[in-house]
């Protein structure tokens, strides 16, 4: 019974913790402009993140070490260094977007300027990273993040034309008002939002924090294979809400305040309160994950002592890295840069960095020296290779498409 509860908790936190500001914004923007015609990209992204998250979780469970430590040891400092630089830059950018997201969500609840909320949000993230236990931190934000199920409920309450939605999703085509380059630019953005690099590093470091062993591989697989796809369904629900309310009115989503309007239309003030709580939990939880990921990646590369299971004094450089990352994020946001723009750029730059993140994981997961009998099977490797081609194409195409379309304008 205890094990079953543990599995249920793991799945629920995986669903609630799946969405972040990148998913919220990108899906709403895409829904308002393309309806559900890019829903297939979410499916491709979910299969990819499931594949590599369970791979990196397995590496950590079998070896007792986080993926990044092994990458440096296995591929050498130069290859791991390229991975580190790309991952760290993207993770700090994503952290900036998440803290901006927390501030924007709190603005919706209070109408107080986001620039006043930004330091408060960053301070809250730092206090939780410093003081809270890893499991409590992950479970609380994941479970409260489940409030975003209200997007799925809203889709039903809005009473849409289901055949039209199904037609958009199953027979995708570029709307007449958009061009093909913009369609593919947003396809890459959605893919980058679903497969953000920090997610796999956080997943493997979290496995070490929670002292997983080979016995825990089954549970981690269930968490990933059930939790992430259900989280992906919430992504599609966000796009569907925007497609139902904004697409026919030709409204383009440019702000977080627009994303909650379909929910208020469907369920009134109660639903609005629930969605704001969900957005705060999702962005705050992702800010914790990205904040920790900055410390994890740098400490694991440089061989510093790391982990929340250690007292901060024993991992001083690990904690200092996270403080510096938080200060940098606050500094960027206080220049009055639009957090939504930061989010849009972070998901596209994530797509650019994907090969640097996922190729090393695939190499390590095939190394018998670390993995023993738990190396990748043929099917996993076949999927892994297909996904390497996809991430490579997305990575190469991202910048030309960004320039060609004026960042999707």
């Amino acid at each position: 019974m205890k094990k079953l509860l543990g599995v249920a908790l793991g799945v629920l936190t995986a669903i609630g913790g799946f969405l972040d500001i990148g998913d919220l914004v990108t899906n709403a923007v895409v829904g308002s402009r393309f309806g559900l015609s890019l829903a297939w990209v979410v499916v491709v992204g979910i299969v990819g993140i499931c594949l590599f998250a369970q791979m990196s979780g397995r590496v950590a469970a079998v070896s007792g070490r986080a993926t990044f430590e092994i990458i440096r040891e296995r591929l050498g400092p130069r290859a791991a260094g390229a991975n580190l630089v790309a991952s760290l830059l993207i993770t700090v950018l994503t952290l900036t977007a998440e803290i901006g997201g927390v501030a924007l969500a709190l603005q919706l609840a209070s109408s107080v300027e986001p620039r006043l909320w930004i330091p408060v949000a960053a301070l809250g993230v730092w206090i939780v990273i410093w003081r809270a236990k890893f499991s409590i931190m992950e479970n609380v934000t994941g479970l409260v993040g489940l409030a975003l199920v209200v997007f799925a409920v809203s889709v039903f309450l809005l009473d849409p034309d289901w055949s039209e939605l199904g037609h958009q999703a199953l027979q995708p085509r570029v709307p007449a008002s958009e061009d093909h380059a913009t369609y593919w630019y947003y396809a890459i953005a959605l893919f980058g939002a679903a497969m953000t690099p920090y997610e796999v590093f956080f997943f493997s470091s979290g496995a070490v924090e929670e002292r997983w062993t080979a016995k825990d591989i089954g549970q981690s697989r269930i968490n990933v294979l059930i939790g992430f796809p259900l989280g992906g369904l919430l992504s599609v629900a966000i796009a569907a809400c925007a497609a139902i309310v904004f697409l026919p009115a030709q409204v383009q989503v440019d702000s977080l305040s627009q994303i909650v309007l379909p929910v208020a239309l469907a369920g009134g003030k109660l639903a609005l309160a629930v969605v704001i709580v969900g957005i705060v939990a999702a962005t705050f939880g992702a800010a914790l994950e990205t904040g920790l990921s900055t410390g994890y990646t740098l400490a694991q590369f440089l061989g510093w002592s790391w982990g929340k299971f250690r007292r901060p004094a024993s991992g001083a450089r690990f904690h200092l890295t996270m403080i510096v990352a938080l200060v940098a994020a606050v500094g960027i946001l206080m220049t009055s840069v639009d957090p939504i723009k930061v989010t849009e750029f972070s998901v596209v730059f994530s797509a650019i960095a994907l090969p640097l993140t996922y190729l090393p994981i695939l190499v390590v997961a095939n190394d018998r020296e670390y993995m023993g009998a738990h190396v990748n099977g043929r099917v996993t490797n076949a999927f892994g290779l297909v996904y390497l081609v996809i991430v490579l194409v997305a990575s190469v195409a991202a910048i030309p498409l960004m320039m060609w379309t004026g960042a999707g304008a």
């Binding site: 603005q107 609840a109 109408s111 030709q250 627009q258 309007l261 609005l272």
Partner: protein
């Protein structure tokens, strides 16, 4: 061509290309259409957002705080659209007339969204809910007329 003349040709080509991009330079009709229609679309999207927000607040389905943020964001969009039209340099008299009428429609939208924000914050004895929604509807119609022209 002698090797020494190659840098001069490159510099000349670059100068001519940049000269072609100077303010008031040649613009194709498609570029003029885009420069005038994009701000209209942006303003129309913002007005539709403000109208939805106003209706939700009127029907007690939205809090005043969330409505204020949504309408303030819409206001930023309309201001941005008006700025784009103001920065546009028309290549001929016809384009200038189109810019003037487009600016008037966006100005109407700006007033409507600003009035909606004042109503949300109840900072004046200004218009009521019905007036605000009607003003936003009129502004949307004016923008629609511009988009169709």
């Amino acid at each position: 061509m002698q090797v020494r003349s190659v840098p001069a040709v490159v510099v000349l080509a670059a100068a001519m290309s940049l000269g072609g991009c100077a303010v008031g330079g040649t613009q194709t009709p498609a570029q003029v259409d885009e420069a005038l229609s994009d701000p209209i679309d942006q303003a129309a999207s913002a007005v539709a957002t403000a109208a939805l927000t106003a209706r939700l607040l009127r029907d007690d389905r939205l809090t005043a705080a969330a409505a204020d943020v949504a309408i303030a964001d819409a206001l930023h969009e309309v201001v941005d659209a008006r700025g784009s039209l103001a920065m546009f340099v028309p290549p001929d008299a016809e384009s200038n007339d189109r810019r003037t009428t487009a600016s008037a429609a966006v100005g109407l939208a700006l007033d409507a969204v600003a009035d909606a924000r004042a109503w949300v914050n109840a900072s004046s004895d200004g218009p009521g809910a019905a007036d605000v929604v009607a003003e936003l509807t009129d502004a949307a119609a004016a923008l629609d007329a511009q988009a169709g022209s």
